[in-house]
Amino acid sequence: MNVPLLSVDDLAVEFATRNGRVQALRGVSLAVSPGETLGVVGESGSGKSVTAFATMGLLERAGRITAGRIVFRGENITAAPRSVMQPLRGAAMSMIFQNPRAALNPIRSVGLQIADALRAHRPLSLSAATAAALELLKAVRIRDPEKRLHAYPHELSGGMCQRVMISIALACEPALLIADEPTTGLDVTTQKTVMDIVTKLTRERDMAMILITHDLGLAAQYCDRIAVMEQGQVVETADPSRLFSQPQHGYTRRLVAASPRRGSTVASLVVDATMPAAKMAPPPMRKPGAGPLLDIRNLVKLFPGGVTAVNDVSFRIGAGESLGLVGESGSGKSTISRLVCRLMNQTSGEIIFDGEDIGAIPERDFHRCALRRDIQIVFQDPSDSLNPRFTAFDSIVDPLRRLLGESGATALRARARDIATRVGLPIDLLDRFPHQLSGGQKARVGIARAIAVDPRLLILDEPTAALDVSVQAVVLHLLDRLRRESGLAFLFVSHDLNVVRMMCERLVVLQNGAIVEHGVSQAIFDEPQTDYARELLAAIPHFDPEARA
C-alpha cells in the first residue's frame, strides 16, 4: 500500500483583490507517492501555481485557504504557521521557480546563497557549507564550478541560474521537489538540459517531484502521472499514455488535440471547431510571371557595440507561400522581421518586394510608400501590441484611415465589422479596450488590424508564443484559413518547430544571425542536415508511449 507522501484533498483557495474575492482553487485533489513524478498541467488561470504555493505555505498576503486539507508525511500542514513550515521547507519539501534569475538574490554571490540553504537546516561552518556548495554545483553540471561559486546572478545565463536554483532546492535533500514551470522562458535546447538534470538528480535521490507546466508534451515526457487542471479544479488524472489515447474529460480532449505533436496538422489542432473547418481552398493565387514576392539578398544588421544581429541572410518568399524563420533567442529572427517590415534600417543588403527595392527607402519615410500597405505585421505579445487608449475598433480602423484614406464613421464601422467577422471577433467587442479583452481576443484584434488593408505579405513574429495552448490552436487555425482564403504570403517567425512545421511549407533555421539550414519543412524534420537543426529537433519535448521505459 503506497502511503502518499503528499496528499491534497479538496483544497479551496481564495484571493482578496480590488474587484472582490476571487476563487483561485475550487476543490483540488491530488496525491504524490514517494519517488513519483507527478505532472500538473493547465493553462493560465487554472490554479496550478497556486496549488504549489498553498502546499509550501507561500501564498501571498491576499490569499487564504478556505477549505480542504494538505497532508504531508502524515502531518496536516494546511495553513500551518511559520514555526511548523520553516523546518520543512528546504529540508523536506522545496521548490524551483519560473524566472530563475529573479528568484536569486541579485547582490549575493551564488555560492553564498547555496551555503545559506545548507546552513538553514544543518549546523555547518561557512567554509564547510561553501565546500558542499561546490559539490552541488558540480552535481548540476555547471561549467567552471569554482569560478561560478563567486559569481552573481546577473553574470549567469538563464539556464545556469536555473541550475543554481536546482542546487539550492536540493541542498538539504528534501523528499519532495516542486518545479513550477522551470523551463518557461528558456531556450528549447537549454530546456532539455535543465529537465534532464532535474529528472536525473531526483531519480538518483529517490525524490518525488511535482512538475507544473502548461506544456503537455513536456509533462508526458518526464512524468509518471499527469493531473490536468482547469479553472481551479483537477479534471482528470492519468498516466500519459492513457491520457493521450483515451482522454475522458472534454477539456483534456481539447488540450491533447491542441498540443502540437510530431504528426499533427493545423486541422487536427482543434477538436470541436467553433469556426467552419478550413476549406481545402483552391491553391493560393499567384502573380503571373514575375519573380518571388519577397527577395532578401545579403541582409546585414550591425548594432552599435559591435553586435552582429543579422549576418548575410538571403531567402525568398513566393506569392501565397509560407516561410518559417526558426531560431532561439539571439538568432536574429526578430531583427529580420523588423527589417523586412521596414521598421528598422539595415546596415547593408537588399530587400526587394514585388520587384521594387524597398530597402533603399529609409524607415523614416516608408510610411509614405505605396507598398506600405502590402507588408503588415502581427506581434508576439497581445498585451503590448494594442494601444491601451484605443478601442478595438480604433486599432483596426487606424490603418484604413492612414493607408487607404478611408473615412466616414458609418463606412468605417461597416468595414470594421467585416474584418472582425473574418477573424472571428464578436462584433460587440469592438468598443472594448485592450484590458477588457482576453488574450485570445487581443490576438484576434492584432490580426484584424494587420489584415485590414489586405496586405500581400504578413509577417508573424511569434504570434502565439504568449497564448495558452488551446487559444494557440484556435489562432493558428484562423491564420491558416486566412492565408488560404486570400492568398497571403507568410513570414512566420517562431522558436517552436512544431508550430512552424504545421504552418509553413518551407523553413529557414537561424543561429547567431546566420542561416544554417533551409528547405522544405517536412524534409528538415525527417532528415535534418546540420547538427544544430538536429539539436533543435531533439530538444522538442515529445511523447512516445512505447519508448518510455
Partner: protein, 342 residues
C-alpha cells in the same frame, strides 16, 4: 584584485563628474556675466557708484575684453581660488566662505544623521508591519511632513521649545555669547570642543545645534521614511525573498541579510538627492535661526546687491553636491555588484 577594481572605478567616476563640474562653472559664468544688465554695476561698491568707478571695475573684471577672453580669465580666477571681494565684509569671498563653511556643514551633517536615524527604522518597521496601526501612523506623519514648509516648522519649533517650554536656548548663533569658542581646528564646534576636552562648550554647542538641525531633519524625514518603506515593501514582495522562504531561511536572515541590504540601495541613491535639497534648505534654516553659515552670508550679500559672494556661494554649493553625488555613486557601486565600471 578587488582593491584595483575599486580604485579604477573611483578614478572613472571622478573623471565622469568633471564635465558636470565644468558645466557648473560655465553655467555660473553665463548667469553672472552674460545676462541682461551690466555686471560691473552688480560688482560695484555701492548701487549709486559713479561712472568712473564702474568703468574701473569693468576694466578690473575684464568686461571690456571679448567673451572668450573673459571666460579664460574667469576660469583662471576660479582655478586660483580668486572669487572676488565682498562689498559688505570687505574680505575676499574665498576667505569668507572658508570661515563660514564649517557652521553650515555641521548643521547639515547633524541634520542628515538625525534624519537617517529616525527615518530608516521607521520606514523599515512600517514595511514589516504593513497595514498595522504603526504603519498607518507613520504614513500619515510622512504625508503631513512632506507638506510642511521648513521655515514654518522652524519658527513653530522656536515657539514651542523656546517660548513655551523653555528647553531650547535663544535661537541666535551657534554658541552662548558668554562662552568662548574652543581653539579652532576644523571649525566644527562639536569636533573642536571634543578635541579640546571642553565639555561645557560641547554641551552648549550641541544645545544650540539641536533646534536648527531638527528643523532641517524634519524636512527630509518624510521623503526618506517613505522611500525606505516603499523600497522595503517592494523587496519583501520580490521573487528572491520567496525563494528564501521556500528554502526555510530564518526570518532574521531573510529580513536582515536578504531584504534589508537590497532595500537600502535605492535609499542610498535618494540620500544624495536629499542632501541636495538640504543644501538648499540651508538658506531658510540659517535665516530663521540666524545661523552664521555660508547660506546666510550669501543671502545677506544678495539682498545688499553684493554679487561676488552669491557667485562664490553658488559655485561652492554645486561643487559640494557633485562631490557628494560622486561619493554616493562609489558607495552604490561597492554595494551593488550589478553596477558595471562604465
Amino acid at each position: 584584485m578587488k582593491l584595483l577594481t575599486v580604485a579604477r572605478r573611483t578614478a572613472w567616476r571622478f573623471a565622469s563628474s568633471l564635465p558636470a563640474l565644468f558645466g557648473v562653472v560655465i553655467f555660473t559664468f553665463v548667469l553672472m556675466r552674460l545676462l541682461p544688465g551690466d555686471p560691473a554695476v552688480f560688482f560695484a561698491s555701492s548701487p549709486s557708484a559713479g561712472k568712473a568707478e564702474i568703468e574701473m571695475i569693468r576694466k578690473q573684471m575684464g568686461l571690456d575684453r571679448s567673451i572668450p577672453e573673459q571666460l579664460v580669465r574667469y576660469l583662471r580666477d576660479i582655478g586660483t581660488g580668486n572669487l572676488g571681494r565682498s562689498m559688505t565684509t570687505g574680505q575676499p569671498v574665498t576667505n569668507d566662505l572658508i570661515r563660514r563653511l564649517p557652521a553650515s556643514l555641521e548643521l547639515t551633517v547633524t541634520a542628515l544623521l538625525i534624519a537617517l536615524t529616525l527615518a530608516l527604522p521607521a520606514g523599515i518597521f512600517a514595511a514589516l508591519r504593513q497595514n498595522s496601526l504603526i504603519d498607518h501612523a507613520i504614513r500619515l506623519l510622512c504625508t503631513l511632513g512632506v507638506c510642511m514648509p521648513t521655515f514654518v516648522s522652524g519658527l513653530l519649533f522656536i515657539f514651542f521649545f523656546y517660548y513655551v517650554l523653555g528647553w531650547a536656548p535663544d535661537p541666535t548663533g551657534r554658541i552662548d555669547i558668554f562662552l568662548s569658542a574652543p581653539p579652532e581646528i576644523t571649525g566644527l564646534l562639536l569636533v573642536d570642543s571634543a578635541i579640546a576636552g571642553n565639555g561645557e562648550v560641547f554641551r552648549a554647542a550641541l544645545h544650540q545645534l539641536m533646534l536648527p538641525a531638527s528643523t532641517m531633519a524634519l524636512f527630509v524625514l518624510a521623503p526618506l521614511a517613505r522611500m525606505t518603506r516603499a523600497s522595503m515593501l517592494a523587496v519583501l514582495t520580490s521573487d528572491f525573498i520567496r525563494t528564501g522562504e521556500s528554502i526555510g531561511l530564518s526570518r532574521r536572515r531573510i529580513v536582515l541579510v536578504y531584504a534589508l541590504r537590497n532595500a537600502l540601495l535605492p535609499v542610498l541613491t535618494i540620500t544624495g538627492i536629499v542632501f541636495s535639497t538640504m543644501l538648499g534648505a540651508n538658506v531658510l534654516v540659517e535665516k530663521v535661526f540666524s545661523w552664521p553659515g555660508v547660506a546666510s552670508y550669501a543671502l545677506d550679500a544678495l539682498l545688499a546687491s553684493d554679487y561676488a559672494p552669491v557667485q562664490g556661494f553658488v559655485l561652492l554649493m554645486a561643487s559640494i553636491f557633485v562631490m557628494v553625488n560622486l561619493t554616493i555613486d562609489l558607495l552604490y557601486g561597492l554595494a551593488d555588484p550589478r553596477v558595471s565600471i562604465e
